[in-house]
Amino acid sequence: MQLTSDEEKALKGERGEALATAYRILLAIGEATEAKKLVPITWAHVSGVNYNTIGDSGVEFLEKLSKDGRVAVKTTINPMGFDAVKVNSLKLNKEFIAKQNRIVSAYERIGVTRSFTCIPYEVFDLPSKGTDVSFAESNAAVYANSVAGLRTNKESALSALASSLTGKAPYSELRVEELRKPNVGIRVNYELDNEVDYGLLGYFAGKVAKNSVAFSGVENLSKRNAKSLSAALGTSGSCGMFTHEKTSEMIEFGKEEARKIRDELHTSEKGDVITLGSPQLGVDDLSLLADMVQGKKFRKRCLIFCARAAYEGAKKLGYTEKIEKAGAEMLCDCCTCLTPLIDRNEVDDVITNSIKGAYYLSNSNKVGVCLKSLKDIVREECA
């Protein structure tokens, strides 16, 4: 990869250690992905905020980087481990809280926006179509490429952070027009009914596609189903984009394929706790939920993860009151994935409508998962 003379100087440390580290990261990823140069980006969305995700080595790295590292472009960050406002009422150990706070302080020194959201595309205004951004959260990267018309690779926590500090990203993979062409197509041969079905499709696609995948039979996606599909697609493999064009090779996705994926993720017929979110709920999701649960009560503990910006918006419109009246706990700044709020010493099985959530609850929190659509959750778990 060719660097400009300014980039070379920064790489050598002439503009500080943090920037040199950032260029080292971009250079390594650029070489590995066969980039010829770096291109400017206007917005970085950084993952690796939850202490459960990055651990002690992440804390140490970020504290060191935050000594002289500063954002060069708008930078938003992923959810952390708890709701910053409700932290004292949540059952969390002190060490977790202290380590999480060190991570947040380091990011603040670097100069990020305290967004704590995995749906930046829903919370913030989008730049014009075709703009290069650098999104690390996988559901956000897939959504940005496939629905929002932006360009990003499926960045890692470190590559997005390096892009934040430099305002640049390697020109490779999904940033290159020819490489955005899907190399595999999937024909959906039955009518998908709800967000769980779209998630199963996404998870299936992530296993068979490389960079980009084409779907036929799921045109006119609602935002809710697009979120579910993007999140599941980003979970099961390296694929960072879907389109609706035709490809020469088409793989069938039918009820049998959906059942196989469901069997892998649906590991329990019941659950003690319900979680909604992963991705976090936006204002539209909260509006729908408020309508569905009006006048009803959840029979079980129900955790609803939403972006704080969405919560504030929904509160003004009266949605949060209806949801809280139904007995659900609304949590901002955090999400289902790797949440410390679901502890397998206390919870055996969780009910969720999120395929991405199901994957992480199963593999990281090590609890059983009962997959149900939102409609079924309200019908069966509310009275």
Binding site: T21, A28, G48, G55, F61, A157, L158
Partner: protein, 145 residues
């Protein structure tokens, strides 16, 4: 220029490859055909492979030239490579079949020389042999035990 690096000379075999993270180092080879998940498979304090299903189970990657196809799992595994370096139990150099972004970024922040795309089969290298990695020109040299 590069021809002279190929084949055997003085009992040493040389393999051309691609330099990903610049640097040079030399150490005992530890070779596996199985991918590595740095986040879940390695004990970050000792460098010992703790995954009982992995063929390197109970082996220590500390100060070795680690040869493996690519990393798998969360890209947060890059922080694990950084942690290994902090505990002074990181590999001296890494040779991948195809470097992934987790290994590339992890080596970048931990200053571990990394090469990939070797022109001949690196999995034929026997663990225990001395391997010299030149991640500036892109060359590995396999020596005697």
């Amino acid at each position: 220029m590069l021809e002279e690096f190929e084949g055997h000379s003085e009992g040493r075999m040389r393999i051309r490859c691609r330099a990903i993270v610049k640097g040079n180092d030399e150490g005992e080879a530890l070779v596996t055909k199985q991918p590595i998940n740095f986040l879940t498979m390695i004990d970050l304090k000792s460098g010992i492979v703790k995954d009982a299903k992995h063929e390197l189970y109970k082996k220590n990657i500390a100060n070795k030239v680690l040869v493996f196809p690519n990393a798998v799992g969360s890209s947060v595994g890059a922080y694990s490579i950084y942690a290994l370096k902090g505990s002074r139990v990181a590999p001296k150099a890494i040779v991948c079949k195809k470097a992934d972004i987790t290994t590339a970024s992890g080596c970048a922040i931990a200053n571990i020389p990394l090469v990939d795309s070797p022109e001949s089969d690196v999995f034929a290298i026997k663990s225990g042999l001395t391997v010299k990695v030149d991640a500036v020109v892109g060359l590995i040299e396999i020596g005697e035990k």
